[in-house]
């Protein structure tokens, strides 16, 4: 693992290396070199199994974090590649030519986060939602509770308690 990271650092401009466990490493790379790093890992370092691609919404910094997790089945190590893209007009290079199933992940991200992957097959087809006309639902600024109350018909009588307050009142009713 250490040697692999040294080799990667020598070739690529990777930063923020966090090694949580012996067989798992998280690292950050800029947007331009992400796909070439993934291609390098797949072809040279034998990370042949694509685990997942997902996004994290850092709304405070106006950034989306994309996380690609790859797995090397020969030595059983996972490597997770983080890359930050801007939240206004988010766009990323597609990686569907490396593994075909990446197109499915990109289709989901396009629908749920609104991140565009130009050139990815079927990226504009609806995947999970049907006829959605609000902002993409996995973004942090989408309020699911407000949307539910406006759209569906909540049955009256539901009470929401702050658990801490509720337990305090129950355990110490006299203050």
């Amino acid at each position: 693992m250490k040697e692999l990271l040294q080799r990667l650092e020598y070739r690529f401009d990777v930063s923020d290396i966090v090694q949580k466990r012996e067989n798992q490493t998280f690292l950050t790379i800029d947007k331009k070199h992400t796909i070439s790093l993934i291609t390098h890992l797949r072809d040279i370092e034998n990370f042949s199994h694509f685990v997942l691609l997902t996004a994290v919404d850092w709304i405070e910094d106006n950034l989306f974090q994309l996380t690609y997790i790859l797995h090397n089945p020969e030595v059983n190590i996972d490597i997770a590649i983080r890359t930050m893209i801007s939240r206004d007009n988010p766009e990323m290079d597609s990686a569907h030519h490396l593994w075909e199933q990446v197109a499915t992940y990109q289709r989901e991200l396009k629908e749920m986060f609104g991140i565009n992957f130009p050139g990815s097959p079927g990226v504009n087809d609806s995947f999970i939602l049907e006829g959605w006309d609000d902002i993409p639902p996995y973004r942090r600024d989408f309020d699911t509770k407000k949307y539910t109350e406006e759209t569906y018909f909540p049955r009256p009588g539901r009470q929401t308690n702050d658990p801490a307050e509720y337990m305090k009142n129950k355990l110490y009713p006299n203050g």
Partner: protein
């Protein structure tokens, strides 16, 4: 009939959701014959559902109700996670067949629709279509607390909260998830109601048809089907 059909199809806006295979077109068959196809008018019936009044003879009506109650055929449509408890229900341990309950593969052969758990908007569209294809008399059973008030998913943007705003529900079974024993109790409750002549969900649907349709159309945003298509 054609008037109704025209009225029916004119309500559909040809927006981005309109499927190209539903458009009116002419096709040439392999043997050279030219056929005109208008799917929305050819395949669907535009007639709204009607209220079926009980038979004048009360004895005969009670006989019919007994027959309806003793042969409940369930549509095999696992809409949510509750369908996993239907496996034990239909196998030797709980054996629902002894109550006359049986799975039916298509909507037209079945009389009971079990909404097994949460119902996402995308499934609701299919459920409405399947329900309208079922023959009268038909019943709906809501399984799990998600159909009653949303349950675990009360704040989810994609699941409905109250099933009775979209379909007429005859029996609710509470629990997350309800045990097979609870399901059997629910079936017996439904049978009792049918025998007493209280299983009037289909008539309720016909009477309040516009209200149900308005609620359904409120959440199914890409309404690209006729209003009624049995």
């Amino acid at each position: 009939m054609s008037e109704i059909n025209n009225k029916n199809t004119s309500g559909i806006e040809k927006d981005k959701f309109f499927a190209p295979e539903n458009e009116k077109r002419t096709v040439t068959a392999p043997d050279g014959q030219i056929i005109e196809i208008d799917p929305l008018n050819d395949y669907f019936c535009g007639d709204a559902p009607r209220v079926h009044k009980p038979h004048k003879n009360k004895l005969f009506e009670s006989f019919l109700n007994w027959a309806r109650a003793e042969s409940i055929w369930v549509l095999g449509f696992g809409t949510g996670c509750g369908s996993i408890e239907l496996y034990p229900l239909l196998t030797p341990r709980f054996d629902a067949y002894r109550f006359g309950i049986q799975m039916a593969p298509t909507p037209r052969q079945s009389s009971l629709m079990i909404i097994s758990g949460y119902l996402s908007v995308k499934t609701l569209k299919r459920v409405v279509r399947s329900y309208e294809q079922m023959q009268n008399p038909k019943f709906v059973m809501g399984l799990g607390s998600c159909t009653i008030n949303g349950g675990m998913y009360w704040d989810s943007y994609n699941t409905i909260n109250r099933l009775d705003y979209y379909l007429p529900v005859d029996t609710y079974i509470a629990g997350c998830m309800p045990r097979p024993e609870a399901l059997l109790a629910g079936f017996n409750h439904l049978k009792k109601a049918i025998k007493e002549g209280k299983g009037e969900g289909a008539n309720k649907y016909a009477e309040n048809f516009e209200w149900y349709k308005a609620n359904q159309k409120k959440i199914i945003k890409d309404w690209n089907m006729p209003d009624y298509n049995w």
